[in-house]
């Protein structure tokens, strides 16, 4: 039986009416409902700034990587003038995917279907037999590749389909202060290509996990203390939870037992950061966070190969379907760190947070089972419990900006994340 668009919207609206972020009530059905997912593609993934690549992935003119903005395939390329372009990977003639490799270097992209050729800034410059078949006055400039607006912060390239969107810097707001610690503390580069794998989970579950769920580490990751990688199961309890506006959030784990970055780079860090940022970096123990909607990040440190060593990574939770995502994970590294530090940091990352990572393994078990449960009509009507820390009041005097709570076991960031989500969903009526 066909369901009209109005009926669909009515169903979504009645579901949205059950979302009460400030009361800590989030209905389970939003983690698998197909109509909610459809609306998210318009309300969120067509309007927000979305992470697409790190600048070090396209260092030279012609370098490109293929990515997705939500469900939409894009080419992220550095054109012949050195400018980064984010182009919809769809030929304007019949919709063929014009670039079908993960990465490479090309000054032009030629569509396999009919041979339409585009410069790497998106301009359509060649159509086989153009004059003969389209006539003398055919205007090719009308059919360049669709361009997304793109801007970078701390080497992180974001793009949006929303021409009316605020600047990236405004969108990120107070989050920039923490992204400086993450990706601007030195000249950073990604190590190799990202690891990618698909899992049967809704994109919001890992995003909210990183935005504000330090609490899960106590039980989900209790095995880490048992095998000696972390000092105790509650290693991620101390520090601060920071709501950075627009749904963004970060958890600043502190204090550290000792410096978790390369000692040799202390002068570099001091040069790249403001004094109060540098002071925080020196006592940083860990730092997970999420840039709304679906870019998460992490600075993590474990005792590995006889030393306390950190690794830094980005996670993109790319929506494929209501109950399916691709997890794409990049390792970020200080370009000038000593080689042995880089080698051990990379191995620590792969052991703990890549596709085979012994932290990530148990997280995926949670994300997939919750998604599956939320499809049950009985479970789907449940309101999940997001009340932790509702009575706590923000503190003053923290070094960084945002709404800051002492202690990382709190669901303030998750509530702020879903408030932003709800506002965007309601606005898209």
């Amino acid at each position: 039986m066909a369901v009209s668009r109005t009926e669909q919207r009515g169903r979504v609206d009645s579901l949205l009416a059950q979302v009460h972020p400030e009361q800590g009530e989030i209905p389970a059905a939003i983690f698998s409902d197909p109509d909610v997912y459809r609306l998210e593609q318009d309300a969120i993934f067509s309007r927000c700034w979305l992470f697409v690549a790190h600048e070090s992935e396209v260092p030279s003119p012609g370098d490109y990587v293929t990515r997705y903005m939500g469900e939409h395939p894009v080419i992220v390329t550095r054109d012949e003038h050195g400018k980064i372009q984010v182009l919809l990977n769809v030929c304007r003639h019949r919709g063929m995917r014009i670039c079908r490799a993960d990465l490479g270097n090309a000054s032009h992209f030629r569509c396999p279907y009919h041979g339409f050729t585009y410069k790497n800034d998106g301009e359509l410059i060649g159509i086989p037999f153009q004059k003969e078949i389209y006539g003398d006055d055919f205007d090719k400039s009308r059919f360049g590749l669709v361009k997304a607006r793109s801007e970078s912060y701390a080497g992180l390239i974001f793009a949006t389909w929303n021409e009316q969107a605020d600047s990236l810097r405004t969108y990120l707001g107070p989050m920039t202060w923490y992204l400086d610690l993450l990706a601007g503390r030195a000249e950073m580069e990604v190590v190799g290509p990202p690891m990618r794998h698909e899992l049967a989970a809704n994109w919001k579950l890992p995003s909210e996990n990183f935005v504000g769920d330090a609490y899960h580490t106590l039980h989900t990751h209790a095995s880490m203390a048992e095998i000696g990688l972390t000092p105790s199961a509650k290693w991620a309890k101390d520090g601060y939870q920071v709501s950075a506006g627009n749904g963004h959030g970060v958890m600043v784990g502190t204090p550290a037992a000792k410096f978790i970055f390369a000692d040799e780079l202390l002068p570099t860090f001091e040069r790249h950061l403001r004094p109060e940022q540098f002071a925080l970096l020196k006592s940083l123990a860990n730092m997970p966070g999420t840039v709304f909607p679906n870019l998460s990040f992490l600075v993590s440190a474990i005792t590995f190969k006889g030393r306390l060593i950190s690794h830094t990574e980005l996670f993109l939770w790319r929506p494929i379907a209501p109950d399916r995502i691709e997890e794409c994970t990049w390792l970020l590294m200080e370009r000038d760190a000593p080689q042995d530090w880089k080698d051990i940091s990379r191995q620590a990352y792969i052991l703990t947070f890549g596709t085979s990572g012994i932290f990530s393994q148990d997280d995926t078990e949670n994300f997939t089972a919750i998604t599956r449960n939320s499809r049950s009509t009985i479970a789907g009507r449940l309101s999940f419990l997001y009340e932790m820390g509702r009575g706590t009041t923000p503190i003053r005097g923290f070094a960084g900006p945002g709404t800051v709570y002492e202690g990382k076991y709190n669901e303030a960031n998750a509530r702020a994340y879903y408030r932003r989500w709800l506002d965007l969903m309601e606005a898209a009526g």
Binding site: P193, P194, H197, T220, I227, Q347, Q361, N366
Partner: protein, 169 residues
């Protein structure tokens, strides 16, 4: 350098089948005993590249970048009470075929290449995951038989269809 004898071939096949049995029955400590102390266990990220590209694998980023110490850590973790990814355990089956054997670098070493297909099913879902790839192994003869000194798995997906790699390939 001569071709491996039928006897050697038989020993190698027996080693690979025995290893598959240990992995599929969860006898991971016995599996560790089949590895040398200097074992290297790797799985490069595979990429979609144009045919003219010199390689479609990354030597910079790998799904596994393990040595004896990290493999032991992984197994020790799976034995804790908090290894949810494999407790309850998956049902797995390692199919090993297309075995080719050549002399290895050292006198007591063999380069062994084999295709591997791993079936994995979890919980009460009928769905399953597959891992398809080629193993590039270095086997070393020690007192007591053959040991695995190096494994590189060339995996046949750029984006894996596996929710995690909590199992060994």
């Amino acid at each position: 350098m001569s071709a491996p004898s039928p006897q050697t071939r038989e020993e190698v096949l027996e080693f690979l089948y025995r290893e598959a049995e240990l992995l599929d029955t969860g006898r991971l400590e016995d599996w560790l005993a089949l590895l040398t102390d200097d074992v290297q266990y790797r799985m490069p990220v595979r990429l979609t590249r144009e045919r003219t590209s010199p390689t479609d694998r990354s030597d910079q980023m790998q799904f596994f970048w393990d040595d004896r110490a990290t493999l032991e850590l992984r197994v020790r973790r799976l034995r804790t009470d908090f290894a949810w990814a494999e407790d309850p355990p998956s049902r797995t089956r390692h199919f090993v075929s297309n075995v080719r054997i050549a002399p290895g670098g050292g006198a007591d070493e063999l380069d062994v290449r084999a295709y591997v297909l791993v079936y994995r099913n979890r919980g009460d879902t009928a769905g399953y995951e597959l891992i398809s790839g080629e193993r590039r192994d270095l086997l070393r003869r020690v007192a007591g038989g053959w040991r695995l000194a190096r494994r590189e798995v060339i995996i046949d997906q750029a984006s894996l269809a596996n929710q995690n790699l909590a199992i060994f390939v």
